[in-house]
């Protein structure tokens, strides 16, 4: 069995002549939280849907813990929250979770349902109908639904799109707990700050291909050093934090009075904009 929670190799998906995925390679290890970034139409949702069996790839392979993505055993190991989430308005939170317990073969019973509702900040809402919930509450219920049965791989497509800052924080905390318990998470999000805060690794997709990949800190390259002297404030490109002592010495030797020196790190947003070349969907 593969050690990888998710192993995607050369995944291609075409719609007619249009490439939604043009050969994507991607891995997620158990206990790893990987952020998937890219402009609208880059193929992120298609990739996630291919992994959970909703979309049939044109070519390439995707496996979940060594099992073909979309197969029954792969789906047993996977939890999924769709970007376009909607649950029957007539059902209660408890009924919805119970349905998914039965479909997932979970023996967790009422205890699991109560624990999941508590985890996503909906304690005491078991009997509440979906129709009376706010969009944010429904999205958190969707996260609870995705966690039914204790999936080992969690696929989240824009899981905080309807949440307020408190709700986003809650989801980030949940994701952290899941990672600590060994669950692999593939998080598709437009929120760069969120991805930067919570993800171990970031994969940036553009036009169906991976254009950048790495830990947020690795991707965020230095952008020079800003100095504030009696000559004014300026940025010296190409320098890093390690160059600061020598720079200060050189400036002092040149007779400048140094008031402040600040190494500038690139943000994930800079990396993202470079990678997608400013493209928006």
């Amino acid at each position: 069995m593969s050690a990888l929670a998710l192993d995607v190799r050369g995944l291609v998906k075409t719609y007619g002549r249009q490439y939604a995925l043009a050969g994507v390679d991607l891995t997620v290890a158990p206990g790893e939280l990987v952020g998937l970034l890219g402009p609208n139409g880059a193929g992120k949702s298609t990739l996630v849907k291919s992994v959970c069996g909703l979309v049939r790839p044109s070519s390439g392979t995707a496996t979940v813990f060594g099992e073909r993505a979309g197969s029954r055993s792969a789906r047993t190991a996977t939890g999924y929250l769709a970007e376009l989430f909607r649950y029957p308005a007539w059902s209660t939170a408890d009924e919805l979770l119970r349905l998914h317990q039965r479909l997932a073969g979970s023996a967790g019973g009422a205890g699991e349902r109560a624990r999941l509702l508590h985890l996503v900040g909906l304690p005491g809402e078991a009997g509440r109908k979906v129709a009376t919930m706010s969009k944010g509450m429904q999205q958190r219920l969707g996260l609870a639904q995705a966690l039914v049965g204790g999936p080992r791989l969690l696929l989240l497509d824009e899981p905080t799109s309807a949440l307020d800052p408190v709700g986003r924080r809650l989801v980030r905390d949940v994701l952290g707990q899941l990672r600590d318990s060994g669950v692999a998470v593939l998080l598709n999000s437009h929120l760069l700050s969120e991805v930067e805060l919570v993800c171990d690794r970031v994969v940036i997709v553009r036009a169906g291909t991976v254009v950048a990949e790495g830990a947020p800190a690795e991707l965020a390259r230095p952008r020079g050093v800003e100095v504030d002297t009696d000559q004014g404030r300026r940025v010296i490109d190409g320098l890093t934090r390690d160059d600061v002592p020598a720079l200060v010495a050189r400036l002092v030797a040149a007779g400048e009075q140094v008031y402040a020196v600040r190494p500038l790190a690139g943000t994930l947003e800079d990396v993202y904009l470079d990678a997608v070349e400013g493209q928006t969907g």
Binding site: T78, A82, F85, R86, P88, W90, H100, L103, A104, Q145
Partner: protein, 285 residues
């Protein structure tokens, strides 16, 4: 998860949805209205057919058979409306609404989802047909002391007919949006019923090819063939001028098909189900 258990779970979920959405309440109220009007109409009809036409025609029999024939048509139509509305969005409609994806990413096959949705709709519609047909039969007995022949067999054929419509609507839902599928299903329903009328016309004017074509269409859309078989069974024992007059009315479309039709419909349902499963399996959600 065991496949049959998944079907059972999802079918119960669909039935619960029907209850919660007050489908049964609305349908029950409207059906009560239909039965009330039917009872009024049949009591008036029976009361006004006391006149004897001599030994040639049994007017009471003619009135009862005609009322029952009209009721069977109405029952088929109402059952088909219910079947259509319960299944028109099973695949594409629910996928577009985002309701289907959370279910099919579970370790449950798409085939089980389809089978469960069809089964739930078929059970609901068959039960509805059984209840309303029973109410019609009781009404005819009470208002005119009249009962058709082979009433149970005819009711079972109507129940099977609405199950066929539900299966066709599930198949249509794979490719068509909810509205388009509803329209398409009602057009098929109309085509089947129109074929029955054409067969009656063909028989009346002695045009064998028109009659044959209409029968082919009835079997291609076998809810119509089942309805015709049911009609024919309820008047199988009549004869003479009464039978002739009955055939001028709603029973003119009756056409006995025998048990071969049941075998054919079983195969038809399997084929439609297989097509639905294959088409859904190939569909990106």
């Amino acid at each position: 998860m065991n496949g049959l258990r998944a079907v059972w779970v999802l079918a119960l979920w669909a039935l619960r949805e029907s209850v919660r959405r007050r489908v049964f309440l609305v349908v029950g109220l409207l059906t009560a209205g239909f039965i009330a009007l039917f009872a009024l109409g049949s009591s008036v009809a029976f009361a006004n057919t006391k006149t004897s036409y001599g030994d040639l025609v049994d007017a009471h029999e003619l009135a009862g058979a005609t009322l029952n024939g009209l009721a069977m048509f109405a029952i088929l139509f109402l059952g088909c409306v219910l079947a259509t509305f319960l299944t028109l969005s099973v695949v594409r409609g629910d996928a577009e609404a985002g309701l289907l994806q959370p279910l099919v990413v579970r370790p449950v096959g798409r085939a089980q989802v389809l089978l469960a949705r069809w089964l739930a709709a078929a059970v609901v519609c068959a039960a509805y047909v059984a209840i309303i047909d029973g109410a019609v039969l009781i009404t005819l007995r009470v208002t005119g002391d009249w009962s058709p022949e082979h009433a149970l067999g005819a009711a079972l054929l109507l129940m099977l007919a609405v199950a066929v419509v539900a299966a066709l609507c599930v198949l249509g839902s794979v490719a068509l949006s909810s509205i388009a599928n509803g329209i398409a299903t009602f057009m098929l329903l109309g085509a089947g019923m129109f074929a029955g009328l054409l067969a009656q016309v063909g028989h009346g004017i002695g045009n064998a090819s028109l009659e044959h074509t209409a029968h082919v269409v009835s079997w291609a859309l076998p809810f119509e063939a089942l309805y015709q078989d049911g009609l024919a069974r309820t008047t199988a024992g009549q004869g003479g001028a009464t039978k002739f007059l009955v055939n001028l009315g709603p029973f003119g479309g009756g056409h006995e098909a025998g048990n071969v039709l049941l075998l054919y419909v079983a195969g038809y349902l399997v084929l439609v189900g297989a097509l639905s499963v294959v088409a859904t399996g190939r569909r990106d959600l």
